[in-house]
């Protein structure tokens, strides 16, 4: 069944739809699976229904009221989704936090959102809640679901999810009609989720989304790429990211496909392979990770395998390029591409868990053309998506057979996208959000006459595709006025398996330079093979051999580039950019202004005469501890 067959009216809410689907599928269909203790454990729609119902009623008996906020934090797991739907069923509003949020972020969001219920997974999240409890007086209950490590916690406001569900069962005995009554009170225009956006510049803003926003989003996306109730989807990206909500709730609930939760975040890749999902939506860094993995395995494999791989990728690239240009594929290439499929692509796609994939999307940040071509050469239907939290997910997507890797595609149905005179991208659709929570000024700036002002720059090309510039100016200029594109360069650099992160500098400077973060495992393996000794990331990154290796990657990226865009000097950083150090946003976008300030010494040295930078700085661990680092970084010039 296609999701778009369900009529989305203003009266429909997520809980009402949930109830409909539970009644429709009941015990006969698996709603979700979780891998636990090495086995995939299924939950039918009936199980889903019961768990949500009792959890919802349990929270009501603890005092949850309509309009209250329920914050949730933890890995992707059935309990997380149950808590979200349970909150919505009771007319409450869900607030998701990124699992690796630092204390002050958690505190800010809990306090700002007026959260009364906090739902954590295990001791780690409970600790976060306990730490902020005194400073967030509105927080009343902390619920946990994994007993591990909880043996010595006895505070009155701590309660296990099982206990809450028992309370729910008691309430259900007393008032059997209550659950459906609560659901029926809801209206499509009610707020269902409060989403704190990552904010590349300022404090996070809370975007309010209604049931109608979320449901129309799923409908409009699936009108382009239909999903079926027999499909499988793997839910492993943070629920605090709108993309995951769009796939798991907006689309998932409408079609009723099966959600699969990996055992642990570390086993996600393995678990994806076991499931073989039909749809996938992930930010570029995941695809970049896969590319790197393939390239490394390729370097390590035997001669014959390397030859087969080279042949198959050569054919794959030829075919993909012809498809991009919308040219016919000659018969001999079709034959060769079949051989490439049998010998390499089939197996490789299986390893990546992509063998059943119909559509896969990337969005949230820019993805380099190299990575894009790589997946199409493998025969994977990778498409760009463009959107933001404020539009409940996405507004623009590539259509099958009309993929251009420098664009993000064309608007989905019921969505208008325009460019203002200043070049700003604005959009209008039923999914446009209701405003920012307790921030009217920001709402006024963002929402004008129903149009959502994105703050992104872009233009619409001759085929009607939208082209988006980077948020912080995609094109920069050197001090002599010649332009270069830092993000394009960065994605090119990141195509090398040895490079994990790159930061290209040069705005209003005489030439372009780069700060490089090596990939610890790949470069580490490379060093092991060459008997180069190292004990830590900082030490490895400063090895002369590693510098030469990185220089070769830069020379490769520099090739075919116009002179002003070429990287002249670089430095290997002693650590990888990290969201905990505020260098990246939670969705892994580089915060240029921040790093520019933080690594001022490095930037100065890159444009100075010296060859060495002395660094004395602190790094922050996830639990808030800090460590001081003193080190010398070498600057190396790139030959042209």
């Amino acid at each position: 069944m296609r999701g778009s067959e369900i009529e989305i009216t203003k009266d429909l809410t997520i809980p009402k739809l949930f109830l409909q689907q539970c009644k429709r599928f009941g015990k006969n269909k698996v709603a979700m699976r979780e891998k636990e203790f090495g086995i995939w454990i299924p939950f039918t729609w009936q199980d889903y229904y019961e768990n949500v119902k009792y959890l919802s009623l349990g929270m009501v008996s603890l005092g949850l009221k309509r309009g209250d906020k329920v914050a949730m934090i933890g890995d992707n797991r059935p309990e997380g989704l149950w808590a979200e739907i349970a909150a919505l069923c009771a007319g409450a509003i869900g607030v998701w936090l990124f699992q690796d949020c630092m204390m002050d972020e958690v505190k800010y969001i809990i306090d700002h959102s007026d959260t009364r219920f906090f739902m954590g997974e295990t001791q780690e999240e409970v600790d976060k809640a306990l730490f902020i409890k005194d400073e967030c007086p509105k927080l009343e209950w902390v619920i946990w679901d994994d007993p591990k490590g909880m043996r010595s916690y006895h505070q009155d406001f701590l309660i296990s999810i099982k206990k809450v569900q028992e309370l729910g069962k008691e309430l259900d005995k007393k008032e059997p009609e209550l659950f459906e009554k609560m659901i029926n009170e809801g209206h499509g225009d009610d707020i269902c989720l409060l989403f704190y956006t990552s904010g590349t510049t300022a404090l996070p803003k809370g975007a309010l989304l209604s049931h109608y926003n979320m449901l129309t989003m799923g409908r409009n996306l699936m009108a382009v790429d239909p999903c079926y109730d027999t499909d499988d989807f793997v839910s492993y990206l943070p629920f605090a990211w709108i993309g995951e909500q769009m796939m798991s709730i907006s689309c998932g609930l409408q079609v009723g496909y099966t959600l699969n939760f990996p055992e642990e975040p570390e086993t996600a890749q393995q678990n994806i392979r076991e499931i073989g999902p039909h749809v996938m939506f992930a930010p570029p860094r995941l695809y970049e990770g896969m590319t790197r993995q393939v390239q490394v395995k390729h370097i390590d494999s035997t001669w014959i395998k390397r030859k087969v791989y080279q042949f198959a990728t050569y054919v794959g690239y030829r075919v993909a390029d012809l498809k991009f240009e919308k040219k016919p594929i000659p018969w001999y290439l079709k034959v060769l591409s079949w051989v490439a499929y049998i010998t390499m692509q089939k197996k490789l796609k299986d390893h990546l868990g992509m063998s059943r994939l119909r559509h896969c999307y990337t969005g949230g940040a820019a993805m380099g053309p190299d990575h894009f071509r790589f997946f199409h050469a493998l025969g994977v239907n990778l498409k760009q998506i463009y959107g933001q939290t404020e539009i409940a997910g996405i507004s623009i997507v590539h259509r099958d057979g009309d993929v251009k890797f420098d664009t993000v595609g064309t608007p989905i149905p019921n969505t208008e996208v325009r460019i203002t005179e200043e070049g700003e991208i604005i959009s209008r659709s039923p999914s446009v959000f209701q405003g920012y929570y307790k921030n009217e000024e920001a709402t006024r700036k963002t929402l004008v006459d129903g149009w959502l002002y994105s703050g992104d720059r872009g233009f619409i090309d001759e085929d009607g595709h939208l082209v988006v510039f980077d948020r912080s100016k995609d094109v920069m200029t050197l001090s002599d006025g010649r332009p270069f594109a830092p993000q394009y360069l960065e994605t090119r650099l990141k195509f090398s398996p040895f490079v994990q992160e790159a930061w290209v500098i040069g705005h209003e400077r005489p030439y372009v330079t780069a700060v490089m973060c090596i990939d610890y495992s790949v470069v580490g393996k490379w060093a092991d093979d060459r008997k180069i000794n190292y004990t830590s990331y900082p030490e490895l990154s400063q090895k002369p051999e590693v510098y030469d290796l990185i220089q070769r990657q830069i020379e490769e990226a520099n090739r075919d580039l116009p002179d002003p865009a070429k990287i002249h000097k670089f430095v290997n950083l002693y650590k990888v950019f990290d969201a905990d150090d505020e260098e990246l946003t939670r969705t892994s976008k580089l915060r240029r202004a921040f790093v520019e300030n933080r690594y001022k010494e490095i930037v100065d040295a890159l444009y100075g005469e010296g060859d060495v930078v002395h660094m004395d700085t602190t790094i922050t661990y996830e639990d808030g501890r800090e460590q001081r680092i003193k080190t010398d970084l070498r600057i190396q010039r790139v030959k042209h």
Binding site: F37, G38, I39, K148, G149, R151, S152, E263, E264, E266, T267, Q270
Partner: protein, 273 residues
Amino acid sequence: MVQGGEFKEGDTLLKLEDIHMYFGKVAALAGVDLEVKKGEIHSIIGPNGAGKTVMMNCINGLYKPQKGNIYYKGKRINDLKPYKRAELGISRTFQKIELFGGMTVLDNIRLGRHIHLKSGIFSGSIYVGKTKQEELESRKFIEEEIIDLLEIESIRDKTVHMLPYGLQKRVELGRALALNPELLLLDEPLAGLNLEEVEDMARFILDINEEERWKVTCILVEHDMGVVMDISHRVFVLNFGYKITDGTPEEVQNNPEVIKAYLGEEDLYATRR
């Protein structure tokens, strides 16, 4: 001392009486007494060559002391072979990892469970009845109690020698736990680990000791004073074959003889702080 029957927390689980162990004319242990109560984490500390590992080897039966008695649950076990002592519930890890490098993590852990498998070679070869039941129970135990506890889901099918050192240490602990021990001997479980791995390991030891499911008594030989003082109930200080003292962490830290034996190493305690 209680003999046989159900052992409660606080009962003496293991007792070493006047243990002498010589290698040629070198006295590795010269009359050592130790009493470990059920439910404790009892650490043994001392400088290099003090005889800590020799003590461990005497307890688990790798060495046979020339003089003295070892009682486990009130029963003298001097003459029992190591595997017999394992059957009684004494399990251990080693200072230098002693895993089967070519086998997977899961197989290494399963091996620790072998002692509890009762079915014979014939029913095993056709996998029916009792064998099947036993295998299912053993799988459940390993997955739910060990893999989940030690958080090694992502490596269960990896070959051990491919793993980083810190994870190998964890696997070794997993194998020792597969025995479902009552007394666990941990020989330098933190050596060679980085800060994060040390914290994980210390937490696992606490879990094993405190969690209702396990409640394992631990004897811990360790050089990391920060962790030893943090997690031990009692600390036994050994100095070249002789006991200096045996007491709570506070008593030991304030004992002048201990400070003397560790002279020049006062900062040892501060290393992880």
